[in-house]
């Protein structure tokens, strides 16, 4: 069958797994039923244990689903510590359901797959050797990729049933009151892990820092926690986030950032109390700097900034240019440290952030989102998942979710090396073109034809070159030439869900 973004979906898999094809980016008002976790009642018993082995042995069974969060990013010690033990204890047929997978986890996941310990994976994304392994058919069952908001939905509705969540935290008290803001390995917001803590049958905290009861602020609360495992070191603070965020000197990125700022400040959304989300890429960070100057010049302040947060954004909060930060994760040390210091930097969980099936997520209140792309096609569909070689090397993250903003801007250079970024058809559709309003490249901007209002608004801005997206595609092709189409086998190695759980695209095994 073909879905609404013209992607052919494998019929057998769709019916076997009872999947629905993507039809629309509009969610509507469906009634959904949530599930609840099983609770083993404890009252006053000592939750602090030294032996992770015992916790695993007494709770984990073959075929179960285990989860982790990725807030420690490449400074994560929790994942490999737990997986090592699970592998050595000879477990089989587990489903791995982390909020995402970072590079430091890759080798351990591959080892677990090869030994039959992990037979299913659901994640936001994957990169490096693991992406390569999966794209070459390393795992029998297709991986399911979900956005952060969709993962929250899937957990709430029981599509993902977490048996045990292993959650590393930089601080906890003996009862399990924990946050991401104190200790050696701070990462700030615990946003993605909060869903696991709420919905997993068993919640196991791992920490190197047990403090006196009660520990506040309590992001994860004692009523959710079964065990607190003391470990030597939970993470490497130097690898959790980039240190000081540097301002890009790349002229291409600076030009794109200036144009993005022009787009924002000439849009109907740029007014007192507007809101925005930026990513962590070079151009996105530079946008924050240009936007700051415009806001100072125009006497405009933002009601909130959303998303993955970086120091340039927390600086705006400290300056009073942004009134609140709604913070689901922090990308650097500065942003993480700021959360502990500024009460206006509100920690939000993944459901509050972006869940399509709740009573209103923050992304629905968002005016402007600035997002990146590996590829964007002439229908404005965006790929952030597979490289130009067809290999998995990315993550949906909050891309589909933030694209709910009233104006979603994609920033991308026209070409990267010899790969065109603006293409006739993306390798993998992740975010449907229907959600995308403006593409900004260093050669000019393209506006989704359904946004005639923006075409009219930006047409009057001097120096803002507006082109048809097909012209940008031809320009890119003129520079790099026409690539030979990639070859894939018939085997599906991954399914890409849209926010509502429908299938927006599939990823096939690459042919070598």
């Amino acid at each position: 069958m073909e879905n609404k973004v013209n992607r052919e979906l494998p019929d057998n898999l769709m019916s076997e797994m009872n999947l629905k094809p993507f039809t629309s980016a509009t969610i509507g008002n469906p009634e959904v039923q949530r599930v609840a976790p099983k609770v083993r009642v404890t009252a006053g018993e000592d939750k602090v244990v030294d032996s992770l082995d015992d916790v695993i042995k007494n709770n984990l069974k073959d075929g179960m689903t285990i989860s982790f969060h990725h807030h420690f990013r490449n400074g994560d010690f929790a994942f490999n510590k737990v997986m090592d033990k699970i592998i050595n204890m000879g477990y089989k047929d587990l489903t791995l359901a982390p909020s995402s997978l970072t590079g430091v986890m890759n080798d351990k996941v591959i080892e677990a797959i090869k030994k039959g310990v992990i037979t299913n994976i659901v994640s936001s994304g994957m990169r490096g050797s693991l992406g390569d392994f999966i794209s070459h058919g390393g795992l029998k069952n297709p991986v399911i990729f979900r956005s952060h908001g969709n993962r929250a939905r899937a957990i709430e509705e029981g599509d993902i049933k977490i048996d045990i969540a292993f959650l590393g935290v930089p601080v906890s008290d003996p009862a399990g009151n924990a946050n991401g803001q104190d200790g050696d390995a701070v990462f700030g917001s615990l946003g993605y892990a909060l869903i696991d803590a709420q919905y997993a049958d068993k919640v196991v905290l791992l920490t190197d820092n047990i403090v006196e009861y009660p520990n506040t602020p309590a992001s994860i609360k004692q009523d959710q926690v079964d065990y607190v495992v003391k470990v030597d070191k939970i993470g490497d603070p130097d690898k959790i986030g980039s240190g000081a965020t540097r301002f890009t000197k790349d002229p291409k990125e600076l030009k794109i950032a200036q144009m993005v700022n022009q787009v924002i400040i000439n849009s109907p959304y740029y007014k007192q109390g507007f809101s925005f989300q930026t990513g962590s890429g070079g151009a996105a960070l530079a946008v924050t700097r240009y936007l700051r100057q415009s806001m100072l010049d125009d006497g405009i302040t933002a009601s909130f900034a959303l998303g993955g947060i970086t120091k340039p954004t927390t600086d705006l909060l400290a300056e009073g240019l942004v009134k609140k930060i709604m913070d689901v994760q922090d990308f650097d040390k500065g942003a993480a440290a700021s959360m502990a210091q500024n009460k206006d930097q509100q920690e939000i969980d993944a459901s509050w952030y972006a869940d399509p099936h709740n009573k209103g997520a923050v992304v629905n209140n968002l005016d402007v989102a600035i997002l990146s792309a590996l590829q964007i096609d002439t229908d404005f569909n965006v790929n952030v998942m597979t490289g130009s070689d067809g290999v998995i090397r990315g993550a949906i993250g909050g891309h589909q979710d933030a694209a709910n903003a009233k104006m979603t801007i994609i920033t991308a250079p026209l070409v990267r090396g010899r790969n065109a970024t603006v293409v006739p058809s993306v390798e993998t559709v992740v975010t449907p073109g229907d959600s995308i309003d403006v593409l900004v490249t260093e050669r000019g901007i393209a506006i989704n034809p359904k946004r005639q209002d923006l075409i009219a608004a930006f047409g009057k801005v001097p120096g803002l070159q507006i082109l048809d997206i097909k012209e940008l595609q031809k320009m890119a092709e003129g520079q790099v030439g026409i690539p030979k189409p990639l070859e894939y086998t018939d085997r599906t190695v991954a399914l890409v869900e849209y926010r509502d759980g429908s299938i927006i695209d599939t990823i096939k095994q690459v042919k070598d």
Partner: protein, 98 residues
């Protein structure tokens, strides 16, 4: 054109290509390493072969390490390596690039 020595041109920087040309006796043999080999491997080999033939080399071993170079860069690096290999750098044959 006779190859007298090993000629090298180009760097391993992003968007460049490094070409090394040495003596061969079985046509133009290209050993290509590229990040975009699936999409552009054939095209890169064609540009190298065409450039060498236009320059007058029909037998050579070529080692090419590509970092996403555009065709114009590939041709220029190939010509530079060929002129160094044939020890003819005193007479740049720029019309080969036309």
């Amino acid at each position: 054109m006779e190859i007298k020595t090993i000629g090298v041109a180009g760097t391993l920087e992003s968007s460049d290509i490094q070409i090394m040309i040495s003596k061969g006796n079985d046509g133009i043999q290209i050993d290509l390493d590229s990040e975009v080999i699936k999409a552009y491997g054939d095209q890169i080999k064609k540009v190298i072969t065409d450039t060498l033939e236009k320059f007058g080399i029909s037998n050579a071993k070529v080692k090419a390490t590509d970092k996403g170079a555009l065709d114009c860069v590939i041709a220029a690096r190939t010509l530079a390596a060929a002129q160094r290999a044939t020890e003819t750098t005193d007479k740049p044959e720029l019309e080969v690039l036309q």
